[in-house]
Structures are given as C-alpha cells and as structure tokens.
Symmetry: C2
Subunit: 427 residues, 2 copies
C-alpha cells in the first residue's frame, strides 16, 4: 500500500473521492455499532456463572477463622479472601483490605479521606492552597474525573513504551511538595496496554518526594488480564521495591475481580504498607461495619486460588483474543501501510489506543458516529478531556461480538483514511 505521505495532491483527491463514496455507502446501511465500552461481553460473563453456585443454602457459611460470614463484622475481609487477592497481585495478605465491589470507589475514598482528614497525620489536602496529581497520558478517564472532582490540578506526563516518562515524574515529585499523587495503571495500561518496565518500577520506588504524603495510586486493574497463553507480562512488585528503597508507605495499590468474575458483583481491594493500612482502617471503621463477606467467600469457593484464577482468565483470553487480533490485523493492513496512525499491540488489558494524525481524533469520532459507530469521546483519555494533539482514540474491542466488531472496524479504518486524506489536503 502506498503511504499517504508519498501521494501527490491528485492521488489524494482521487483517494478522497473513492473514500467519500465508500463512506456514503456505509452511512446508508444504518449501522448501530459500539466500540466505546470497556466491558466484558456476555460470552465472557457466561464463563463465571458457576460462581453463583459456589455458595448456596447448603453451604456452611463460615470463614476459615470461624466467622459467620452472614453476620456483621470483619472490616478488612475474611482471611481466605485476603489471601486470594494477595496471590492475585503478589503481595502479603496482611497488607490487604478487601472491600465491596468497586476498586474505583476505594480510590475515590482514598482521595476523599486525604482531602478531609489527611494521610497518616499529614495536613488534610482540603486545607492546602494547591494539590497536584501527575497524570500519565493517555490514561483512564475515571481516574482523571475523580481528581477533577476534588479540584486537584492535573499535570500530563507522557507515556513511553516503558511507562510514564520517569525523568519528568522525578522532576515533579522530588521538587514540588504540592504534588501529592500520580495515577498509574502499571500492567496493560488503560488505554495503551503498556507494561511498566522493571526500571520504571524501580525508579518509582526510588522517588524522593518533596511531600511526605505523596502516594503512588497504583491501579493494578489488569493484573491477570492476559490475552495470550504464553507471552504474559510480569511487573515488579511495587510494595516490595518501595520497601527496599526505604519508601515503604509510598504506594496505594488497587485491584478487583470486576473483569475476572462479574463487573459490579466482584470483590475489590487495596494493598499497602502496615502503616497505611492501619491509618485507613481507623477511618474506615467510621464508614462501615464491613463489606459483603458472603461474596468474598463465594469468590474463594469458586476460584480456590491463583491457579483457579489463571485458568479462568485463559478461558476469557480465548474469547477476546480473536477480537484484538482482528483489529490489529485490520489496522496493520489498512492504516499502518498508509502511514496514517500508530498503536501498540497489547498483550493484555481491555483496550487499543490508536494514535491518528494530529488534529484528527475529534473528526474521526464524529464521522464514525454519523455512520452509526460509537467510539469513546476524543479527549477522554486526558485530564479535563483535553487531548493536546487531538490524536488519541481509545478502542474497546471486548463487548461487541467478533462479527459486530469487524463491521465496526471496517467503518473505523475507512473513516480514519478519509479524515487523514482531508487533513493532508488542507495542510
């Protein structure tokens, strides 16, 4: 395929005419497709239905330490659930608090409590003139929505193939006491699928924050969400590395089984140092008597241990892998060959992050929508929804069927080509 960059104006005009005709044809089909939702498909959820039988009326609903899981109590989770979560993210059970269904809610609470009461005896953030968060971009829109909600100033940090630009991170964190946190998705990052390198993790652990209450918000959302049987990413354990580096309290790590079992009916958790855990529990005890221990027991009864989770996630991988591969192949054939877009081929997680030519993202979203294909809004992987180059698009392949996704992807590549040609003709 000839790169658009090498085309003459005349060739571009010809291409444009052909693409416009194609686009018209697509529009006339009245499609209604969606590549915007970072949700498992029904086929994936079907794989977890056995979870619903794991605890029933015949179950002795008692934790291994004798607690009746049907009654009140146990702020930090039953021991077997703490152990399951600990195995999943490779930490110690005593560093884990198991919550209810939403890790996002845990992250929100961590920030709300920092604002209201301060972290480990430090000044409440709400009493400070300015609080800043570093935001590796592109990133997860709901992270940025939380920090925006609290009026926290967000600073973009570009992502590299190894994780956030650590030179910049070090510069901000080590010099500015107003920088209180950074949002990280260290494994199969949302939306790019970047896996933080060992060096990146070690540089995080070795930070010398100007603020004593600086915390890394380490959202290990895709810890076990591989796409392939082999070729699975591993990242260094940030809690261990921070302890080794003399920064034991610097991390809040989050995870959940939302995309392992059921979104909304899974279990979520935080992992952190002993000092942070006891600081959290002191406040959390005012907030609730405890989370759903029957659902914790249900998850342990069903998955048993890390082997159970791994085997389950391979079944899910078999469902989503063809979708990721189809997209990668179509983008390679139709886009890469023409030099009008980049992406990383993810080995896990839930998204593909497509980088179009500068200034084209919004136009692509609009034109796709006009043709009946919904994409995540341009800008949404950035703080304040502002993509400085208007070039990044988040594609979510998991929810539609392979057939629908293929249809949608065909529209997408046609639109990307059309918008790119228009852009080139204008410049």
């Amino acid at each position: 395929m000839k790169s658009y960059m090498e085309m003459t104006k005349e060739e571009l005009l010809q291409e444009k005419a052909a693409l416009e005709a194609e686009y018209c044809k697509i529009k006339s089909q009245g499609l209604a497709l969606d590549m915007s939702r970072g949700k498992p498909s029904a086929e994936q959820l079907d794989l977890s239905m056995g979870l619903l039988d794991a605890v029933d009326s015949k179950t002795v609903a008692v934790s291994e330490n004798g607690t009746d899981v049907r009654n009140y109590g146990v702020l930090d989770g039953i021991p077997e659930a703490k152990r399951l979560i600990a195995e999943m993210i490779n930490v110690k059970p005593e560093n884990v608090i198991v919550y209810g269904n939403s890790s996002l809610n845990i992250m929100y609470d961590q920030i709300a409590r920092a604002e209201l009461f301060g972290i480990c005896g430090n000044t409440p953030w709400s009493k400070l003139e300015t609080v800043k968060f570093l935001c590796p971009v592109p990133g997860y829109d709901r992270h940025f929505a939380i920090t925006e909600e609290f009026g926290i100033e967000m600073i973009n940090i570009p992502m590299t193939e190894e994780g956030p630009d650590m030179d910049l991170v070090e510069q901000y964190v080590n010099s500015d006491p107003a920088v209180k946190g950074i949002w990280c998705v260290p494994k199969y990052s949302n939306p790019q699928g970047v896996v933080y390198s060992d060096e990146t993790v070690r540089r995080f652990a070795a930070l010398k924050p100007a603020a004593t209450d600086f915390r890394i918000f380490w959202d290990n959302a895709y810890a076990v969400h591989h796409i392939y049987e082999s070729d699975q990413a591993e990242i260094l354990n940030i809690l261990d590395e921070c302890e080794k580096a003399g920064n034991p309290d610097m991390v809040f790590e989050f995870c959940s089984t939302s995309k392992v079992s059921f979104p909304g009916a899974g279990i979520a958790a935080i992992a952190s140092s002993g000092a942070n855990i006891s600081d959290i529990k002191k406040r959390l005890g005012m907030q609730t008597i405890g989370h759903d221990k029957i659902n914790q027991l249900r998850h342990v009864a069903y998955f048993k241990n890390m082997d159970g989770i791994k085997a389950h996630m391979m079944k899910q991988a078999a469902v989503i892998r063809p979708k990721f591969e189809m997209l990668d192949e179509m983008l390679t054939a139709e886009i890469a060959s023409r030099g009008i877009g980049n992406w990383m081929k993810p080995k896990g997680g839930y998204f593909i992050s497509f980088e179009a030519m500068d200034g084209c993202a919004k136009a692509i979203v609009d034109k796709c929508k006009e043709a009946g294909v919904v994409l995540t809004g341009a800008g949404s992987p950035f703080p304040y929804k502002k993509d400085p180059k208007d070039s990044v698009l988040r594609i979510a392949p998991t929810y539609p069927s392979l057939e629908e996704l293929t249809e949608a992807a065909k529209v997408f590549v046609t639109v990307v080509r059309l918008v790119s040609v228009e852009k080139l003709l204008k410049s």
Copy 2:
C-alpha cells in the same frame, strides 16, 4: 416486692449483704455471656438461607428492563430492587437509590459529600466555622461516631415517648443556621424502641430551618422489624409530609435489608426528593460505576415483594419475641417492683434501653463485666459517649440464645440491685 426507696438503712444493709453473697456466687461460675451485640442470631440468619439459591448459574441474570445485571452500569439500582425498597419504606421508586450492603456507609457518604461539596449548591460544610447536629438521646452510637469524626458539634435532644423533644428541635433548627442536621431513628428507635408519633412527624415536616441545607437524617433502620404479629407500629411517611408542608428537600431517608436478610450481604438504600436524588447521583457517578446488581436481583427473586418481606419478618419475630418477653418479665419482677429502673417495652427493633438510677450505669457495666457478662459500654448511646446522668444502658437481646440471655439477665438484675443499694446507702 418492697421498693428500695421505702427501705430503712438497716433493710438496705441486709439486702446488700444478701446481694453481695449472690454476686460472689455468680462470679465463681466463670460465665462468659454477652448482651452487647445488636446482631441477629444464627437462628435468624438460617431463615434467610434460601436467598443464596435465589440466583444461580441457571438464572437469566437480566433485569426487567433488559439490563444484564452481571455487567457494569446502573448507578441507582435495577428497577425491581428500587420498587422492593420503595414498598418496604412506603416511598416512590423514583425517589430511591439502591446501594451496596451498608446504609451506614450511605449516611457517612452523605455527610462526607456535604463537607466536601455542599448539598444542592450550598457552601461545603468544611468551609463553615461551625456545623451542628441535633442528636436525640439515647441514640445510635455509630451515628454519633460519624458526626464526631467530622468535627460536627453535637447537641443532645431528650427523647420522649413520642420521639425527640420537638419544642427543642424547633427552637434549634428554626433559629440557628449552623444546625445542619438531626439523626433520627423514627420507628423502634435505637435503643429505646420509641415510635415517632404522627404529631412528631408532622412537626418535623413543618420545621422552618434557618439553614437552607438543613436535612433530617431519617434512619428507618427498623421499618419492618416488628416483634409482634399484631400491634405493629406504623409511622407517617416523612417524605410525603415534608412535601405537603412545602419542605420537599428536607429529608434523607435510609434503610437496608441488613437485619432482614444478611447483615453485610443485604442491600441498602437512600430515599429523598427528586432534587436531592439528582444532586447525589451527580457526585455518586464519580465515586463508582454501580453497586452489586446481582445481589439486588437476588433479593427481589427471594422476597418478591412486601408480602414476602412481611412473612419473612414474622419468622424472625418468632425467634426474637421470647427473648424480649423474658427480659421484660424479669425486669418487671426484679427491678420495677423495687423502683430502681425504667425501660419501655419495645414492639420492634433490636434493643431495650434500661434507665438505672442516676450515677449507676458505669458501675453496672463494670460489675457485670467482672461477673462475665458483657454489656454495651455505659455512655455509648450518647454523643461523645457522655451520658450526663450516667444512667442509660443498652441491652441487646437478639444474638445470644434464650438460655444464655436468661443467664445473663439474671446476672444483670442482681448487679442492678446491688449497685442501686450501694448508691442508696451512699446518698
């Protein structure tokens, strides 16, 4: 039985000697009993085991509006769960948000958000010099713990047999703009079992608060928690009354199925005006994607409707009624007859509130503990754990078996008599 007030000093000394001998005997038994826990007994929980079969792997896990309850989404609850909750507390489904497992957490969140962001556009409470809450006493310790956590100044309001002293409530609420809320348990109040009279509810609805963001925190925790088949209390619907009185936005009502199905694995909810509900949802959407919809569906599948809940609660009543009645009889025989204590005979809820002679509560708790019977700490039904008269004790009859409770009650009445005699001899 002769009242202690009518006894001569000599008679009291004789009584004391006899009671001391009795107390010594009790101590030698090495008892380990507990009347402190406001928890259902295992026998009550056994009644709900069918809930665990209500959704299984064969269930079509789809809400009546077509939502796959296994997947992400639905901030305010599936329609059938909103309807079930609405029936339970007699409000409209559109005024309900169904949450996760903890109504306490909803109350905490309401206050946390008022502090951080303000209610319906009003100034965030954290920006105000002083925020005050009215606290009907005796009341629920965890309510007071939340307001204390936020540094909110708590003002005691005495309870009458009709609810809080409304003259005082009106005086504070209608004149002081720093008064932002009041904690209420309107039906079978914790710990007295008081049922707010219609006049009380109407006077609440007719308040003319000095603060536009004054809210009644209406914790309808025991809406369906009757002890008797007949003789069940009904209270006026506070949302309706407030609307009629021109104060539609003045109430946050809370409830849960914690003591209907399983504590910790039930569903909880808030009910409020349309304006409040949309104010809440705007913020809640930053906090979480949604609560556990499978558990919502499970509750609807099991209880079906209000008739199902009513029938289920009568089974629970049959378990707890003998415990309440035994206590009432023993207190009547051993305490009332001697003029050394008062209580109301509750028709629902989870507690009996015992009022000893002034200055005796702490001594009773201590002496019971020495004899192996744990009571809720003296002072705990009051803000800052300070009982001004040191006279109120909360007795929780539901968790122990009838046999254990009877044993514990015998110790209790002996200790109350002993402490009362000592008190009378000193004065």
